[in-house]
């Protein structure tokens, strides 16, 4: 492969990597949601934690993104909102990912 093609390949890889990184940041920013006055990240870890605690208790305490405790009185409502926000952000990211794949 000549150097010109390699340069083009490198430029494209740069653009794709930057776009992917920025899209992930955009997704993480959108995953921040307020609940009962606290800030949570609607990511897989929070969803799993809430799901596990919910299986064992009707109410529980959870630390928010700044390590402040929050009393979760309605785990079903909280889990539903977390999953909704999580899937909204992943759906957006997935669409962009498909676009990037087509550019490769």
């Amino acid at each position: 492969m000549d150097i010109g093609k390699l340069k083009k390949y490198s430029d494209l890889a740069h653009d794709l990597n930057v776009t992917k990184r920025n899209s992930l940041e955009k997704m993480r920013a959108r995953q921040i949601m307020a609940y009962e006055g606290r800030l949570f990240r609607a990511d897989a870890q929070t969803i799993n934690t809430v799901s596990t605690l919910k299986a064992h208790s009707k109410q529980f305490y959870l630390l928010d993104t700044n390590d402040n405790p929050c009393h979760i009185k309605d785990p079903d409502d909280f889990l539903r909102k977390l999953i909704e926000r999580n899937q909204e952000t992943l759906n957006t990211y997935s669409q962009l990912h498909d676009t990037l794949k087509r550019r490769k």
Binding site: H14, D15, V18, N22, E25, K26, A29, G37, L39, N66
Partner: protein
Amino acid sequence: MTTGVLMYCFNTPTMEYSKLALKSCELIEKNLNLTITIVTDHETHKNFPQVGGISYKIVKHKTQNYRFYRGQNVPWYNMERANAYEHSLYDTTLLLDCDYLCFTSNLLELCKSDNDFLLHNKVHDISGLNRILGKLESTLPIVWATVVMFKKTERVKAIFDMIKHVQQNYEHFRNLYRIKFKNYRNDYAFAIALHQLQGQIKTNDFIPTPMNMLPHEYDVLDVDDSSVVYQYNKKVNVVTDTDVHVLDKEFISV
């Protein structure tokens, strides 16, 4: 309970910040749907529309500061931000730089939290080259005063009073924390005030995600309702539906 945006905007001989502020206001009205107050001076005020949903507070800006921008020192009026607590008309305030472009409603989530003072302590360079933070710039945990959510509480009043104290004695604090930059920077004043008020222990309450920034070496080619197109080294890229702090101030004249 009222929530609104507070913005400081003073034109300088080299930069028309009012144009940036108007673009920013347009996006705030669209994406945050909050009322806006702009603190400005008489001269800059003439560049703003005299009708519409924006409130103005006219002040006389303090002594001129300067900043390093694209290879030269340019005038910069940034001393008034310390008075934001007094200038704000709202119970919950989003204090924003006029070059911070809100393309999402993400900041509204911060206002719904019980926190009374939130700002960024991390930054994401959207160019991918991590050019924002240099090494050994100070011995202080840095924060960014570009986006600050605050409520009117006694603690927040103390923070702003401390910021004023730091501003008045900036040379002392600059030496104390070995800050590399000689000019007054709100980022450092806010960081110092928080560090001092928390008993010289690293604080914990920050905006959970990093602030997106586009370094000033990057030229902004276009800004529309949802995206920023930028260029560096002939590489053009776009960031869409993402709040971003744009350091290239000249794009607004394009």
